[in-house]
Symmetry: D2
Subunit: 339 residues, 4 copies
């Protein structure tokens, strides 16, 4: 059994990690932690998250600074479901011991520190860790993840976008005179667990935000290799992202060619499901899957691909778990797929 | 044209009042006000409430204390969509002039100040106003409302509950050995416009609250005349209340008797619709109507009545407007029913 | 008072028309009709549509063939909220009298009968009517609508799309080497009032459909003047469309230029609201408005515009009413805007 | 490994069973069947239920009559997620072999065939099976279930209601002069997977139905032991039931007494969670749990208990699995609780 800790267990992603670890046959949840001054310290996971009401044994511990080194040495894996700043500040110490660290924040996803500073609002000074960090898109970087001590788990929108786009870009079939257009709609859990007028029930209704300036744009671009136009939207549902991707293909690229391409790339991947029709959010909600479907208009050369994930799962917790499984030498889907 | 002001126009009820007044053929909206220190002062109604984006001419004014007397003398009607404490504190001054005041808070609904203090958490010291205040359940108190200077507009749950129960109680057909059981589900707008974890989109899901202790219980009881068991629930929708009322009838009370009773009481009432089947929330959402339907089990003597209203309309703004219409000598539904 | 009939009053659009006409100060609803064999014939509007429970006086009449000529001569306006085939078949007779006809189906929106046949599945043989029909996009064709006997009321997606795109295309600022990409999400009412597994509550969840082949694509293209890529989605809400439009602008087109352009085109239009931020569906639900906002990325030359309408209102019934008002010599928004 | 078949796998409950069996460590899914004339025969489970898109190996077989005996002899367990009539007609043959049969219809839940005929609309003629059938409320009948060849899996509303009420009735603390009042709201999946106007997305909105006449009333009454007033409602969500139960307690019954009572009855039960506050639907959605909380008004003697389950899980599939586990000699929660 591997000893595991979750830091930031009061949020939706943290709670999902706790749930996954509790059901994992080879992990033992040793610590669930919250920030040192959190009002949630001392409560059980069950008190915060009604769906985990049976997990009364896990008490949220405050993360005093001296705990970092302790966790680094005592744990096999630490999951950071924390704000960007916290992950940034704690990574050096956390990753100095035997524990492999899986960071679900945005702190270690962008190698370019100028771009980082512009989009995250603070300077990146954890440069050694940043260099070391492996981008945890499990379907592409599994060998690096297996060796990694620090994994930057991809953002939710980038996961949905990259799984749709990378096969096309890598195969060289994109007509680069037209930028890929990614329109994505996310459930409200993407905004995190907090009181906010913008995510209050009465206020939520389909709406674009972060237009032409969202921080996931450089994440998509840097891990894809070409610029995109990315427009996120808030949707009136709790979990899930549907990304609708429109691309112009190089002249002569057929439907059959794309069918073969996606099948070649993902045919053996356990959590990417190549669908026979366009997926809906509910097909993937509460699951670790990414569902893909595509259609080519051979006359115009445009193609539309839609990509559906659960933002809390494949967009965060279950992808982190895929990475942890790989890094710990287990099957990628251990503890993720029960039926 | 009657000159009208709305105090507390940043909330959902205030915005609904602004919308109703803007469409009212005989009212002119002179002032929209917020509390003196509100960050919303200086903004337009349009900036706060996207659905009123065309109302760019109304700027939210801060309510400095000296404005109370000014409004009292210059306005024909003032609507108070304010916290209980504010209504309580301002009423004496506001009601001292020519303006008739329509208070949508709970400050003047309970005549018993001991019960008030227990449920509202502060002592009632505006006793002259409290004595003067008329309970604005328009279907029952229209004569008093016409003469009133202060109208305490009923709460949302009491409106739905009383419209279902008063015909039965007044006709003496309730078997008082069994308390009427009111189970009601309210949309999230009932909780007001504010950032709160409990009303955030991800958290909202059908749930009972305020069980056996909600402050609307004494309001229902005192305006009905007999004790009830009232259990409110938060529902996953934006507007509306459905109250399901179960009562035991005196032996021998038939379905036909209830049919006749409701028809006699409400047949001529313009906003109570006696339905041929059990109403749903959407039947009344965005409308001033209360929809009622009932069924008697003649064997057991129990009956079930359901009552549906829009909590922001008949449960607040449109009921306040019914009262204002009556008090200003207009038809009760002026500005409320267009089609 | 103008005498008015609605054919197809059992559906959502028909019911909305009935509601609008009932509240219209200069229209008198004479007849509400359904198809000759409809099981709804003989019922009241109130029985079918709970939200219109007070409209018990309107009984649905079966439309026997001989009624067409009668309606054509007796009515001032007839609204057709009927299937494409029915509108197609009945138009010649209906438009032969004094009545002006407002068709909410797709039967008379495409002038090219080959394209029509491909997308609607039957041959267009009502060619004289087709030639005569005016496309009822009120913000663009008001002079023609005033003179028209037949108005083809635009589809819901085309309305949202064209109001966003036409200012750009007409001003010549689009870089035509990149097709405008329209991603739109519609509420379920867009699918009509009928029993269907695909629109059952449990099944609905955000999903693309009609990808690269929806019949609204040629409608947008023919009334815009350039090809587009249009991807519709079904969303988990009842009413509303949000269209997110991505375009490439000609080099050097600035944010300021677009601000001025939209303001010049729509500044005086009563139901287009130029917003200060990206609109959400709820801003326009149950209203006749189209809300627009846009942002330009001056570096890349791409721009994103979002356009929000209520599909049952500006996407159907209220737009039909704008057209009827114009054709009958009234103000365009008569009976549409109350507050 | 136990060999298992699911009959009626095209519906929501059938699909949930398939999912549970696929993840069960000691069951092997041998057959998934639909009715002989179903249009779904020949499709995979994956084609019907998008969330099971990875289960492409299971093809729906048509259930020809001769298959009943074959299944009865070859399977260890057969789940019937079929209409009442089908379960009724097939049970004798299905239960004649080695297979234990778990029927999720209402066919074998009521021992009184007169009451059955009145509520189900057909005469019960499978009397031997009816006598043999054990009511599968696992928390109460586990010993009988272990021995049973036929288990009548309880209805969704009865499960939620009985788990709340049986501790009170069995302990003799109910004041029987007042009937227990059960108000329950169910998600739309309770209506099954079919095209129907009443469950179409646009039409669904909180509404009472089956008032004073629902067929689950006699099921609750017969397995509780005393009459109740049961009012079901359709809610605007996909999964879950919240039952709000109001009872009058015998004089002097305290909060403490109820706390102890529920703790004594359910303290060791693995899927009943005694909560510290009133549960919400989302706490139990997609889980096998029943969450309970209660409050006593010691002055009036009334108490309110709320009970939350997922209607597709504890109200159907996971309860059937609890029964199957018991009947096959496994731990009750095998394959149900992963974390």
């Amino acid at each position: 059994m591997f000893n595991v800790a979750v830091i930031g267990a009061s949020g939706y992603t943290g709670a999902q990690l706790v749930s996954l670890i509790s059901g994992h046959p080879q992990m033992s949840l040793q610590h669930v932690l919250v920030s040192e001054n959190s009002q949630d310290a001392g409560k059980t996971i069950a008190q915060l998250h009604g769906n985990l009401a049976h997990l009364t044994q896990h008490v949220l511990e405050p993360l005093a600074p001296h705990r970092l080194a302790e966790l680094a040495n005592a744990m096999d894996a630490v999951f950071l479901a924390t704000p960007h700043e916290a992950s940034h500040d704690w990574m050096a110490e956390l990753s100095a011991g035997k524990a492999k660290v899986f960071d679900l924040s945005g702190a270690f996803r962008l190698k370019d520190t100028e771009v980082f500073a512009k989009h995250y609002g603070f300077a990146h000074t954890s440069e050694a860790c940043l260099e070391q960090a492996v981008y945890g898109l499990a379907e592409y970087n599994s060998e690096a993840i297996k060796q990694a001590d620090i994994v930057a788990v991809p953002g939710c929108y980038p996961t949905a976008s990259l799984l749709a786009l990378k096969p096309l870009f890598n195969a060289g079939v994109l007509d680069e005179s037209v930028r890929p257009i990614v329109n994505a709609v996310s459930g409200v859990s993407g905004a995190g667990r907090k009181a906010s007028l913008g995510t209050s029930f009465y206020e939520v209704s389909l709406q674009a935000y972060g237009v032409l300036g969202h921080r996931h744009t450089p994440e998509i671009e840097s891990h894809l290799g070409t610029p995109v136009i990315f427009t996120p939207h808030l949707g009136n549902f709790k979990r899930g992202i549907l990304a609708t991707v429109t691309v112009k293909l190089k002249s002569g690229t057929s439907q059959t060619a794309l069918d073969k391409l996606y099948s070649d790339v993902y045919g053996e991947q356990p959590v990417v499901r190549l669908r026979e029709s366009f997926p809906k959010i509910d097909d993937v909600a509460h699951t670790p899957y990414c569902d893909l479907h595509w259609k080519v208009d051979e006359q115009s050369g445009y193609a539309v691909i839609t990509s559906a994930i659960d933002n809390v799962m494949k967009g965060a917790a279950s992808q982190a778990m895929q990475c942890a499984n790989l890094a710990l030498g287990l099957a990628a889907t251990e503890g993720l797929i029960h039926g």
